[in-house]
Every structure is written in C-alpha cells, then in structure tokens.
Symmetry: D2
Subunit: 256 residues, 4 copies
C-alpha cells in the first residue's frame, strides 16, 4: 500500500479578503476550497498555505515533504520571496509536481520554469468557456467527456507565451471568439508541471465539478515518484583512456 | 537581397589572459577566433564583445540590433549582471537567436531560458569526442558527414539537466565510456536557441574545421526573422457577448 | 542564386467535374487555382497533377525532381494506388516537403506518415472559421496578423487523431462552438510535413488571400534541402574491438 | 484493487528452432523467457504467442483483451499478415501499450506506427553496450542506476530513422565508437509505445537483470488505461449557427 501523496495547496489569499465578489465564493480562500475537494480522497494528504504566512507559508521542511504543490496567485506575484521561489524550483527539479492555476501563468515560479514570457490575451466579461479535451487517453482527463463548459470565465487567448508543451491536454473555446491552450504539461528536471487555465477569482470556478475532477486527476498524476538532488560531478572514466601527460595540472573546478 | 545578419560573438575572455595553455590557442580570446571564421561570409556582419567591457559588452542598443548572439562563458558566470541577462532574455524572446557554447551550459542566460539545472557529468582528460550527426536533414548539419571527431575534448556526460529538446542534432561518444546530447535546439518565445557542446578552453577546438562549420550553420539558422515585443493585452471580444451587468465594476488591472 | 523550388500541386479533381457548387469556384480544379497563386513567385517552379492521370499523375521521375508536394483529396482517397503512396512516402523520408490540405487528413499518404487514425469531428454548415496564429515567429505565418477569418468553412473539431505536432501553428475557432489544431508540422525522416485545415470544396477558400499566403509560405518552408536515400548499413567499428572468435560465423543478413 | 494488466508476449520463434547459438539461450523461445520473468508479478497476467500459430498467434479476441503487447521479430517480419498488423495497430490507437524489442525496429507494426524508415546502422560483433539512463525520473527507469552494461550485444547506431521521441529514455555507448537512442517512447493515439534496443538473439540479453527490470517497468507503464474506438463523427453545433439556406443539399458523406 503506497502512502498518501503529500499535497500542499498554496493560495495568495488576498482578493478574498478585500473583494466581496470573491469572498462570496471563497470565504476561507480559494486554497481552502481546493483543499476541501481533495481531502476526501484517502490517497491524498492535504495541507494548505498562503502568502502572508511566515516564509510565504512554504518553509523548506514543508516543501521537502511535499509531493505536489498547487499554486494560485494573481495580484501579489511580486511579493513572493525570490528565495521561496528558488526553493520551489529546486523541489520541482528534484521531482515534486506543480499544478499552476489560472493567473499563476504570471507567477515567478511558472515563469522561472518555462523561461518565456507566459503572456496572453485576457478579458474579464461574460464569456462562456468550453474546455475541449484533446487528450482523452491522459490521466488528467480521466472521467471527463469530450468537453465541459464553465458558464462564465475570464477569457485567456492565444498567443500564449509558453514553450511547446510536452502534452497538450485542453483547448478552450470562448464566446467572444478566442481560443487558448488551457491545459498543458511539461517535464522540468524530475518534476511534472501542469498548467490549467480556469479559475478567475470572481467566478465560482473551483466549485465546478469537472474543474475539481481535473485538479484531482492532475494532483495524482504529478505527485513525485523520485527525489533526485542536483549534481554536476567530476566523473572518472569507465573505459581506459590514453595516458594523460598533463593530469597533475588539470584544474579542480570547485566553482562549477 | 537580404541584408547581412548581425552577429555578436560574446566571450568571457578571462582564461585566455591568465592561463598560458588557453592563450596559446586563443591569444586574442575565443570570441575573436570564432568571429574570425564567421567574418569571411558576406551574409554575416560580425561584432565581438566580452565580460569586462562596460555593461558586460552588451549595451541595450547593441542587443537591439543583434540578430544572433554567440555565448562562451565558464569561470565568471556569476559576474554577468542580472540586468544584462534580463535584456538578453528579452531579446531572445523577441526573436534573437542564441548559440550557447560548451561551459555556457551553466551560464545565467541558458539556465534562465531552460528553467532547469543544466547540470551534467564532466572530466578533463584525454578523451576523444566523436560527434554523431543524428539530424542529417537539419540546416545546422549542412556539409557535415555522419560524424566528426575531436581528438581531445573535455567529457560532458548524461544525464544532462535540460528540458526535452525540440530537435536533437548531435550525440557525442567519448573514449571513457560516456554519451552526451551535444547539440540540441529549443524555440523560446520567438527566438531560436542552439546548445553546442565542444569548446573546452585548453584545447584548440574552435580551430577545428567541422566545429567551425557547425557554428557557422547555426548562426545562419538562428538569425532573427521577427521582432515581437512582449505584450499581455486586455482584448475586446470579436463576437457578440451576452450583456454584462457588472461591466462598470470590472477592474482595470494595471499591475498585470 | 538558388534555383527555384520544384513544386507539384496534386488534386483529386473529381468534385469539380460533378458538383456545380464546386465547379463554380474551381472550374479547372482546385490544383490549378492553387498553382495559379504560386506561379507568379520566381523562386517557385510549379507543376500540377491529378488522380485520373497515368500513375495518378505522379510518375517516379516527377516525384524524384519534386521538392515539395501539395496534396488535396477527399472522395477518392481509396483510388490512389498503394505503389504511388509508397513512392511519395519514400520521397518525403528522403527530404521532399509535403503540404496536406483539408480533407487530405484522411489521405493514404498522411495516415501512413502519421501512424494514427487522423480522425476528427466535422460539420458542413455555415460556421465562420477564425484561424488563430499561435506561432508568430514561424516562416509559415510570415505576413499574417494574429488571426484571419474564413466566412464559411466546414467545421473540423477536436480530438484530432494525430501524433503531437512538432510545431503547432494555428488553432481554429468555429461559430458552432468547436476548436481545432488547424495548422501543424511534423518532421518525418528528412522531409517536412505541414497539415493545413481550410479548403472545403464547396467554398471559395483557396481564393482567400490569407489562405494563399499560408500555402505559399508553407511551400517555401517545406521545400527539400537534402536528398538522403534510406540505408541500413552493416558498419565496421571505428574503434578497436576485442577479438571475435566467432567472426567467420556471423551471418550476412541480406533480408534486412 | 485494480485487476492485473493483461500482457501478451509475442515472439517470432524461428531463430530458436534453427540456430543452436540461439537455442542455447532460449530453448523455449525468447517469448517464453520474457514471459517467465514477468509472470511472478501479481499485477501482471501473462500470455505468450508466436508467428506460426493460427492468425500469427494474435486472434482479435486476444488482442481485444490485451492491455500491453511485447513484440520481438527479426527474420520473418514479412510473414506477419497485414490484417494482423492492422488489428494490432487498431488496438494501440485504442489504448493498448506496445513494447518493441531490438530487431522489431523493422517490424511492420513499428514502421506503421512511426511512419518512417526505422533504419539504423548495425554490426554483429563483440561490442560492449553501455546503456545510459537519461530519464532518471521516468517509470521505465525505476530501480536502475545511471547506466548498465551488456557485455556483448549487436551494435545499433545512429542515425535511427524514427520521429523525434516524446521521451528519450536511454542512449547507448558501444565499444566500436557508436551511439544509439536505445530507449524511447511515443504516444500513438490512445496507446503508449516503447522501443528498447537490447536483445540480439545470439546473446543471453533477456536473462540480464537490468534488461528484465526495464521490460517489466515498461509493461507496467504502457498498460492500457482506456479503450477508445476510432470515430469521425458528423457533429451538430453546440452554439446557434446562422441560417443555412443550403442545409437540405449538404451531402451525407458515408464514405468518410
């Protein structure tokens, strides 16, 4: 019997405190709503954290025991400490999964892992978003049909400034005429990354059944199976090399 | 008639000044040796720059008119200003090509574009490196045969901490028993990136005919064809949306 | 000065003869309409061919001098000889480019190169198709804006039964609520393949300016730069091997 | 509790009957040796089949209940019935996993799924093969170290005529100076494909511990999780379309 995956759901938890239109949907914060639909699954052991806690809620010992981190941020990306971002990145490259939600396309951690602008078109209005499943074989789409609809969502449109995904999972259609690669995966080092577009703060998106299914599937798919620390070793040969007359003079490069 | 591509060859230019074993091969610096074999080509207009110049040799106006940047660094990666790295990254994402040579696998700019550790195995010894051409159709391998050999090179070995390349161009075999993905490409934003492994400073690698052919081919392949600045626009709908009773209250999100 | 690329535009040329709604747009066949907008470009040398000619219009000597083949087929995929398909496939793998248009998603040659079903959703109706450019850096989108619209087109919808494209170029939005990966590239052997969705026979799609631009760009992008015949050679070692006591008994495997 | 994965191990089973150098290692056939190391795992339910059985050992009902098929073939690729190949391909595209071993790089089924030549260099001699693990995070490399060695194996060398793998798992080093992408994965439709190079018939490769580990891991990784039949449906719109004056005349395209 495998032990449960250690899931940490991180939320910025700012809009919820200042905007009544957000608070009505997420009185305890989006991170608690997300944690609440994950917790009933016995294979998941769920913790929550948020920006205004010490060390942005993500001390190294928590990160070190986290198998998959769920991340929602928007108005305060710049307030996340660079050191925390560096630790999250280290953990992803070691093997921790990362689920990046909605406006976290512009989070420091997602941009650092992608290496690109992560920019996109956007519009806050009355669009319907129809999320098409283009990877029906994938664990992230388990239990879903060909598409699902979110009655009202912010529009995110192409071009989306990301590297070519390893796997494209969803493409969204919007009433207003745009399309978007709304679900995509990337392997980064030993960790799996999944970006999932839905989740504008003024809509009840994380109460939506299919959105919950996607996030639950993604958490299971991304949970770490390895922990491989970074290493850049000076390696002795495995086969016999010709004599090296300069061996004694070879530098020992400690700064690498 | 297309105007020549603007090529900037950047070198760290430190080993050459302090290590006679390097200076013997590159008395004016590796960047000048590389520029020297590129300059005879009338379709290339070649400039050089190095770390200890003002703004690390890469002021914004030079970057803005550069179509492809060639980068060699090693012992002083940490001395490249973060602001310069940010400007180089901006230019790559706008469309500038980037050729990353040898130990620049650990440069700030390559790590920023890849999002991964970029770590590898290494050994400075008497290995022969046989570079296998696994993409004979690719512009970067034009004029090459099935493989070429470098009599003595530093070994770089797998696993190499990079995202899956868009195109794998070369795989190297080493006497000591290792293999390495020694040539690979990635699209990042609107710019092309090529990593090419050969080029240890104590060997005359950049005087090697096939190595020069690869770099010349790569410079042509990577040269910018577009310049597309980053943008994340609020976009009006292209189709008629349902009435939005809350339109007046929608935020104008200046901080995005 | 490079010689012009040899372009062969192949059409099924059946609908045009029997359906007046098709003939009104393409009285000489779709292949001639496509050839007509390619011919004015001095870097392209354009030939046409169609199904009911001898050897389906594609004798080996024509294929052997073709740098890029444009293919439209629909109602008579099954009538293309398997031997002709095998020769086209051989030429693509040697280096010839292939532009696959619209209903040719179900052509023998496209299915043979993809290895998948190439199935999709479809509807012939009054949808508008808005083609979003998701690769603004790519040669295939040169001269295009962020999107272009085709007033009436057949709907093709996801999931599209293709391998993950090397490069995703276009995603289409349809009035009826679907999305589609409407432009995508794959490297197959030494040849480039581009699938482009627009082109339903009862609409004047190939008279559309942006559609013409895409096909012209794609023809230039895909034109062969190499010709590398298939080979599976028994290869002598490049390094000294241990003595082989069984060397004389090693089979000479002629059947490989 | 998930039911065990249904594994079918298919062998050509010809060399073993005629060549004593093969029979000494595999008296009951390679397929039985492979099945023997898979059978002890309670999560795998293992069947064997071979070429000279009725329907090449792969009747449709067996394929329909197979979750993952392991395939070894060499001297008799041409004797596998095209109809059997078509059924195996259908099952892979529906979701069945396929593990392609060694000389099956030239099997009809692998070539049909790849769409390329699948050609390579080869040499039967005394090379050592050192298999480098370039994907330490991947389920297929679970339990392996950085590399493993096979004392004597046939050399397979680059260039290997395959489409760019989705994931590159292994790169092999050979004494004679070559390299090879010796483990690679591709998604094809709803099924997973893994090619694994080791396994020349005159060497005891399938008795090798790490080779057995790789195949066992791969079988688990590739086992079907879905069964999605091919479909190309005429689809009604999900949003209101403009009036279609020609609706009655739209063809009902039965031949698609």
């Amino acid at each position: 019997m495998r032990p449960p995956a250690q899931v940490t759901v991180w939320g910025e938890f700012r809009h919820e405190k200042t905007n009544p239109k957000v608070a009505v949907h997420y009185p305890d914060g989006m991170h608690e709503t997300i944690a609440a639909f994950l917790r009933p699954h016995p294979d998941l052991d769920v913790t929550t954290a948020f920006l205004d806690q010490a060390e942005n809620g993500l001390p190294v010992d928590l990160l070190d025991r986290t198998d998959v981190l769920v991340w929602w941020g928007h108005m305060a990306h710049g307030e996340v400490c660079d050191e925390v971002v560096a630790q999250v990145k280290r953990r992803v490259l070691e093997g921790m999964g990362l689920i990046v939600l909605h406006s976290a396309h512009y989070s420091k951690i997602f941009k650092a892992l992608m290496g690109t602008t992560c920019s996109l078109k956007w519009r806050e209005s009355t669009d319907k978003e129809r999320v098409w499943n283009v990877a029906p074989h994938h664990p992230i789409t388990r239990g879903l049909g060909e598409y699902f609809e979110i009655p009202n969502e912010e529009m995110y449109g192409e071009p989306f400034g990301i590297p070519t995904p390893d796997e494209l999972i969803f493409i969204s259609w919007y009433t207003g005429g745009e399309v978007f690669r709304s679900g995509a995966t990337w392997q980064r080092g030993n960790g799996k990354v999944f970006y999932f577009k839905p989740g504008h703060e003024t809509f009840p998106t994380y109460h939506h059944k299919e959105v919950q299914q996607v996030i639950t599937n993604a958490v299971r798919w991304a949970a770490a199976t390895v922990r491989i620390p970074d290493d850049c070793p000076n390696s002795p040969p495995l086969e016999i090399l010709p004599f090296d007359p300069e061996q004694a003079e070879r530098p020992t490069i400690g700064f690498r």
